[in-house]
């Protein structure tokens, strides 16, 4: 594990994952983004580039998950997180179902960019509901 829990804070109002909390966290994000940009900018065989970028992305995801796992939440935070995730999940499932229904009624196959709103909408709605739930719980308690 390269990143450390004290460098980051869990995202509550801006989706999922981690947010830098200290300068080390910011440096971590800058270095990772820089490495990915550097790899993508290299004039090398596309297959090697794809493999290298994928390996780096997998390492970063693993590192972020390790950092998240090592972050200790107290019982109130765990409860709030669980309620927020449950609400977000329900909204995402509902919006995926509605999106599928919408695509089905269109009667044509969506490709490429046409498909983006259908993919992004559930994630965006889930993030909004998660943030709202956290906001309400942080103001009122449980």
């Amino acid at each position: 594990m390269i990143g450390q829990a004290k460098w980051f804070t869990r995202r509550k109002y801006t989706g999922w994952g981690l947010m830098p909390r200290t300068w080390q966290g910011i440096a971590y994000v800058v270095v990772v983004a820089g490495l990915i940009a550097f790899l993508l900018g290299l004039q090398i065989d596309p297959t090697i580039k794809l493999v290298a970028t994928s390996v780096l992305a997998i390492l970063v995801v693993f590192d972020v998950l390790s950092v998240m796992a090592s972050m200790k939440l107290d019982e109130r935070e765990q409860k709030n997180e669980a309620i927020a995730e449950r609400n977000a999940s329900w909204v995402m499932v509902a919006s995926i179902a509605l999106s599928i229904l919408y695509v089905t009624t269109l009667g044509k196959e969506l490709r490429g960019e046409e498909l983006m709103p259908v993919l992004i909408l559930p994630i965006a709605l889930g993030a909004i509901v998660k943030a709202l739930t956290h906001f309400i719980l942080d103001r009122t308690g449980v």
């Binding site: 107290d74 019982e75 109130r76 935070e77 942080d138 009122t140 308690g141 449980v142």
Partner: protein, 62 residues
């Protein structure tokens, strides 16, 4: 739920942060407990009472 955490905390001259550290929760959780807007688990209530050297029913009033 009403609590007497603040009163007992003052008796032991503990800040919210210090009590939170001793109990193993965040300061915000102590704030919510003192305001009575969070119902703790039995374990947390027990831990708070133990640190404040009181019975659970003395700290948490239904």
């Amino acid at each position: 739920m009403k609590t007497r955490i603040k009163e007992f905390r003052a008796k032991f001259n503990l800040t919210q942060e210090e009590l939170a550290d001793k109990v193993g929760v965040r300061r915000e959780t102590i704030v919510f407990l003192e305001k009575g807007s969070y119902n703790p688990s039995l374990k947390l209530a027990h831990d708070v009472a133990r640190i404040l050297k009181a019975k659970i029913e003395e700290i948490f009033i239904l």
